[in-house]
């Protein structure tokens, strides 16, 4: 490897720098810092209320950190409005599935391509030739993703009627449709049974390997994080408790204490 390639590999894709978030009296995040590198699956763990979702919402620009910075490829994202996050390559799923319930699976995933396409209401109303071409390429991409995630059978179904596990895959499909560089998955295993959880873990690794997408995986299912992530950050009460390889973090006495001290695991 050349020096330049090495340097490239070491510059973080996403850098969270000393981020704090305060809600009224509650300090939801307290000076959290970590880096994410291209191709990594970073597991973010911590008991309920540790601040994981809050961090995600900072990355999606739904919450404004009271201090600190978040850099994507070296550039701060904190001046961007929420709808300009998808276009820089940050995609996400939500802890409690946030699909468009009255739309079909196809249309949900088509909305995922919004940030990667353009149109205006006049051309759309007149269905001009260039709009038809864009739609054709959108459809091609969407069907490729539905096929990849085994969703073709339900492509035309309205999502609100689908089982929870399927809805989670639709959300993943929608996120992939935006060609993200980083995929933020907020508790993707929630509500899944034991076997489904490990299938999902494999899928996340497959997505990273085949689509070269860096993944930030929030999970409180320890087993899944430990078998899926390459690198783990543990949060508790808004502070970073530990960081390292899955086995290092698992053996960390503070982490063990935090997890024993909370009922849920």
């Amino acid at each position: 490897m050349t020096q330049a390639q090495l340097a490239q590999g070491h510059a973080p894709l996403l850098a969270v720098r000393d981020v704090s978030v305060v809600f009224g009296g509650i300090i939801a995040l307290n000076g959290v810092s970590f880096d994410m590198h291209q191709g990594q699956i970073l597991g973010l763990i911590g008991p309920n209320g540790a601040g994981k979702t809050t961090l995600f919402n900072c990355l999606s620009r739904l919450y404004q950190p009271s201090s600190g910075d978040i850099l994507m490829e070296g550039v701060s994202i904190l001046t961007r409005p929420p709808h300009k996050i998808a276009e820089i390559g940050i995609g996400r799923t939500f802890q409690n599935v946030a699909l468009f319930p009255n739309l079909s699976v196809l249309d949900n995933v088509r909305v995922g391509t919004h940030a990667r396409t353009s149109s205006d209401i006049i051309s759309d109303s007149l269905k001009l030739a260039w709009i038809r071409r864009t739609e054709a390429s959108v459809n091609k991409k969407v069907h490729e993703i539905l096929d990849y995630l085994d969703l073709e059978d339900v492509a035309h179904s309205i999502v609100s009627g689908l089982p929870f596990g399927t809805q989670k895959r639709v959300e993943l499909a929608r996120a992939l449709a935006a060609d993200p560089k980083i995929l933020l998955l907020d508790e993707p295993a929630g509500g899944l049974n034991h076997e489904e959880v490990y299938v999902l873990g494999d899928l996340v690794r497959k997505i990273r390997d085949e689509r070269r997408i860096t993944v930030l995986l929030v999970e409180h299912h320890m087993g899944m994080v430990m078998s899926t992530a390459d690198h783990v950050v543990a949060l508790n009460f808004g502070r970073k408790l530990a960081e390292g390889t899955p086995s290092q973090v698992q053996a960390d006495p503070d982490v063990i204490k935090a997890y024993l001290g909370s009922k849920d695991q």
Partner: protein, 338 residues
Amino acid sequence: MSAAEEVVTEAPAVEAVPKRAMTLGYGTSLVVLAALILTPLFVKNFVIFQMTMLLIYGLAVLALNILTGGSGQFSLGQSAFYAIGAYTTAILMEHFNVNYALTLPVAGVICFGAGFLFGQPALRLSGIYLALATFALALAMPQLLKLGFLEHWTGGVQGLVVTKPDAPFGLPLSQDMWLYYFTLAVSIGIYIASVNLLRSRSGRALMSIRDNEIAASAMGVNVALYKTLAFGVSAGITGIAGGLGAIAVQFVAPDGYTITLAISLFVGMVVGGVGWLPGSIVGSAFIIFVPNIAEGISKGLSGAVFGVLLFLVIYLVPHGARQVALVAQQLTAKLKRN
């Protein structure tokens, strides 16, 4: 050969359901279109006039449907945009001698602008608060039209008389008949454009906002922009309907555009089925003809009778004409199978 035929007839069955969610199938569309084209040839001028109004209110209901069914925003202020469109047409025709057909795009553009601007403050409001703000707009409009310093243009309380156009190129059509076909052509154009819009990237953006704003914005949808665009488009179409209405009625006056009109359009949307564009014409028929029926049943209590009829419809088919169409579709499918 027979295998190929099977594939052809089988294929749409899978595709059809969701694609038709907002529109009609080709067959049904053609039947409706044929009825709209042929009926005027067999009826009296007054009925033709009523059919023209059916199309005009149908457009206004469709416009509200794009706003509410498409983007999830409520409006009780559509009468205001209808009035702006009507006055634009009337003023251009009577003060500036502009051809009636050319006044319509102007009315559309002006109302698009008005709707887009109104959509800006409306962004901060949602649900019932937005309904209230639009209600205020509807209340204010008739009084604004009576303002003294506008009287030279608007005709004040008296309003303006509009000249009904003759059929062009010496076509042997009565004025009513010509205006009907003209309105039909405009309506078909707007209907097709609306269907295209709702099925496009922009339409999906609107519906994603309706369903989940936060997720929509995470997908890159500029929520504020699309919400105001929805207001603009809705107001623009309503304005064109208003312009056509002014030509058909041959008269504009402030008291023709009160909150009652806005509420009627709202009723029309609900009866037709929120979010189902073809239902717009059914809703329009309801608000035009059911009051007459109610009056036929009891002159003194026509309002109460209308209320009871409306209540019955909402109670029996809460999703309006859309629900009736779905049931009919399922029944015919069953009959075909047997």
